[in-house]
């Protein structure tokens, strides 16, 4: 601020000297209305002014990075689907299906999944604490939800859930989350390392903003990837450095592939800054083996890369032979601490068994950076003041759900297990169904909420797609939508272009 005040003062001082030059410049500038009075506006002058000048905000004058970035999950296919949905509403017979089935996005509660009762009880009480004093409330809410609501409210200054909180989130809630992380991993977590955000996505954007200085800065991203990463990198003007997951080995991640891509990009003059790992994977669903994770941590340490660990699907693991291990746990178990590895871990309330997408709750745990970097992260977070309080509360509930012995434990665990086992069954059912289709092969979904079947498109189909000026898998998805009302995302939207896939 001081710099800008001094700068403007300098301008003021210089202005009298410049006045002569300034007035001359007006006469020759295209902005001939500079000195006119408001009453001079006329239709004729308006048409000439708009023909010589572009609108300040139009396609050819807006930030080109905005134009460049793409986000297929809510891209063209969804716009088309929404249009069809409107058509069905006005003319039910317009299409050979009755409804649109949105399978493009991990939005479980829009497809009938119920929220966890205990979580919603606590949130409702925190939204309207006035009823906590009423005896009738006891009859409507479980005793432990009332207790938890009181506990949370006591951690909020003035019990004011409508007030901006600390920019990293309410301290007491961060304490709870840190304790939850420690219980999960067996290694301590510091509440001051936690930044609560409106979903995990804003946290990802924040890190990209910090890391990317120019197009010479590269971020290693898995292909296929959840397109938040490609979109965010494009928006911040960086370069996406792809590393290819191996479909033949269940979408495995090889460190040799990481090394190869790193070397290639360095030879092109790119400074690779970070490695994004999505575990469990999106859209692939693979759960990394611990050995694999150790190799990845070692790689990041050796090469001086920030490890960005997207772990939002940590509660979605469907196969008994695999288990989720956080990268934090893995690095600490290798004896690596703050000084050894820079690691940012992302978690969200949108996935798991809770599926609370609309709440926009999440956090990043930031470890291995110096205090000066931390200050900058805090500063950027503070410009938006804080994330929504209800989402913060929910994040703390997700990281410390009811325990054995709590009144709500049984109903909570029944709901949780019901949802998870249903997801596992659906994954298996769909995987089997896809594998039986002609020209389709489907890897097992070990985790997350998606399947990423491969479709072998005949030559003629590919030609038809070309004629329609669409990627072959996008063409397939459009035809599928028009015939059935089912919305899938073409695999090319996730970066997968060496073969064609669908994501849903």
């Amino acid at each position: 601020m001081r710099r800008f005040v001094i700068g403007s003062a300098r301008n003021l001082i210089e202005s009298s000297r410049q006045k002569y030059q300034f007035e001359r410049s007006i006469l020759s500038s295209p902005y001939r209305f500079l000195s006119s009075s408001p009453a001079a506006d006329s239709p004729s002058s308006s048409s000439s002014s708009s023909s010589t000048m572009a609108h300040p905000v139009s396609l050819n004058t807006i930030n080109p990075k905005v134009i460049e970035c793409e986000y297929a999950v809510r891209g063209e296919i969804v716009t088309l689907a929404q249009k069809l949905q409107e058509e069905i509403q006005t003319k039910p017979d317009a299409h050979p299906f009755e409804e649109i089935l949105y399978c493009n996005i991990g939005n479980p509660q829009s497809l009938g999944q119920q929220p966890i009762t205990f979580f919603r009880e606590v949130l409702a009480l925190c939204d309207h604490p006035a009823i906590l004093d009423k005896s009738e409330t006891q009859g409507l809410f479980s005793a432990d939800s009332i207790e938890r609501a009181w506990q949370i409210l006591d951690q909020i200054p003035g019990r004011a859930t409508g007030a901006y909180s600390h920019s990293q989130g309410i301290k007491g809630l961060r304490d709870t989350i840190a304790a939850g992380i420690e219980a999960r991993d067996g290694f301590p977590a510091d509440p001051n390392d936690i930044f609560l955000t409106d979903g995990a996505s804003p946290a990802v954007h924040m890190m990209m903003q910090l890391l990317i200085r120019s197009e010479k800065d590269g971020i290693l991203c898995p292909i296929p990837q959840y397109p938040l990463y490609s979109a965010s990198i494009a928006l911040h003007g960086g370069t996406l450095v792809p590393y290819y997951l191996d479909e033949a080995t269940g979408w495995g991640l090889e460190v040799s592939e990481l090394k190869k891509q790193l070397e290639t990009s360095r030879s092109k003059g790119i400074t690779v800054r970070a490695l994004v790992v999505i575990n469990p994977g999106n859209p692939t669903g693979q759960v990394l083996a611990e050995e694999n994770q150790k190799a990845i941590v070692e790689f990041c340490k050796q090469e001086g890369l920030v490890l960005l660990a997207d772990e939002v699907y940590q509660e979605n693991v469907y196969v008994p032979e695999k288990k989720f291990h956080s990268f934090k746990k893995v690095s600490r178990s290798m004896g690596y601490g703050e000084k050894d590895i820079a690691l940012v871990s992302f978690q969200s309330v949108s996935k798991g068994y809770y599926g609370e997408c609309g709440k926009r709750g999440g956090y990043m745990e930031v470890t291995g950076f110096g205090a000066d970097v931390r200050e900058q992260i805090y500063k950027v977070a503070s410009v938006n003041l804080c994330s929504n309080i209800s989402g913060q509360i929910l994040a703390s509930l997700v990281m410390s759900p009811p325990k054995v012995g709590d009144e709500s434990y049984e109903s909570y665990s029944a709901e949780r297990d019901g949802i998870l086992s249903s997801l596992a069954r659906r994954a298996k059912t769909l995987e089997d169904a896809f594998s039986k289709l002609e020209g389709v092969t489907c890897n097992k979904a070990e985790g997350a909420m998606y399947l990423f079947p491969r479709i072998d498109l005949p030559e003629k189909a590919i030609k038809a797609a070309e004629a329609a000026k669409k990627a072959p898998d996008a063409y397939y998805c459009q035809r599928l939508l028009a015939a059935t009302g089912i919305v899938f995302v073409p695999g090319s939207g996730f970066g997968q272009v060496s073969s064609w896939h669908l994501a849903f």
Partner: protein, 509 residues
Amino acid sequence: MGLKALDYETMNENVKKVQYAVRGELYLRASELQKEGKKIIFTNVGNPQALGQKPLTFPRQVVALCQAPFLLDDPNVGLIFPADAIARAKHYLSLTSGGLGAYSDSRGIPGVRKEVAEFIERRDGYPSDPELIFLTDGASKGVMQILNCIIRGQGDGVLVPVPQYPLYSATISLFGGSLVPYYLEETANWGLDVNNLRESVAQARFKGITVRAMVIINPGNPTGQCLSEANLREILNFCYQENLVLLGDEVYQQNIYQDERPFISSRKVLMDMGPPISKDVQLVSFHTVSKGYWGECGQRGGYFEMTNIPPKTVDEIYKIASISLSPNVPAQIFMGLMVNPLKPGDVSYDQFVRESKGILESLRRRARIMTDGFNSCKNVVCNFTEGKSLLSTGHSKAFVFCDFFSALLLGYHTGAMYSFPQLRLPPKAIEAAKQAGKVPDVFYCLKLLEATGISTVPGSGFGQKEGVFHLRTTILPAEEDMPEIMSSFKKFNDEFMAQYEDNWNRSRM
């Protein structure tokens, strides 16, 4: 220690340039002191519920029911929730695509956007298109999205008032653009002079900057002034002539404490002016649930409305919004409730009106208490106008110059929730600040904090003319705490001034 990918030196330079004083040095120091056990009164941010303002009951009832829809099936729900809250909860749930837990449309729930459009039409008398209204996680997110669209690089300038709410300077820094300041005139009630605008633009252009947009904050932050209709017309003409998109930050439109100058939206004036202005001038208007008498800062609910933005550009803005999937759904419901309030006859109507009026009148009173309290402080110049509407008795409408640090806040206080008094720091104080390596108003505010626990934001955080100092405080502390706060402030101020005053000639100007 091995190679480090992210350290201070290798970080995005734009991030380093960002400053946001509202939660900057003073706030951090205040938080430290609070941890050490000192009682702190935070007046650094417009955060009413943190200072005791109670949330309105009805919206909280509705959202609680939406959070826990199983309550709606319980026969006893009527014992603690009124019928209209129950009905409204059902209404909003029916508008969602699966309750509060599902991502909504990336632009926000269509039904809520329709309610916003209807509100705008009622307010302004012109229809508004819900397709051009995007709900956001607070107005700040919307501002950032729009500026990100506009700013291509350093060559793009955005006109920003001085003083301003530092979201604008921070965001422009973050996106690598150029801030083009235009000075508000303190001696004219922080009014806007079009000649200042022209000069700012000309100077920017001379430096090779393409001025793209103009920000107005109406009612003003930190200054509290409401723009007159004439002023708004001048601004719109100016934007038309100079081909600028107007960004109208109108988040304080409910915080008006006098009747002479009501809030008039930029859009209304734009439409009133007819073609070519109404067809050609591009406008984005911002609103929020955080201010007004709702004060629901923690919900993070806001919207922006676009006027005369071409369809393909709207699509691009939609695309960016879609990357974040959707704004948080509970706040969307708060927004719906705010723009579609209760009506006479509704069960909860009387309580709602009572609570709302109570808050607004209390804000008015607190502005006055602060004034009377500051009245007895030394060494501060105040200007105030429109005294008749705001002071208790006897003052005429004429300009009154005084060397009391008085209701300037009040005088300027035609709206918003802040006071921005001018501090006439003696030369010795400025020297002491320099010795301490601090900007003079930061120096004053830090000393104020250490002595009294009152946490303010120094005027340099908002921008001011060189050599002129201010601080910003809110009028939000609880009424019953005000007298003590004011006497504490006076004690500090008078001692500070006495300490640094040295035969200083007290002149009127």
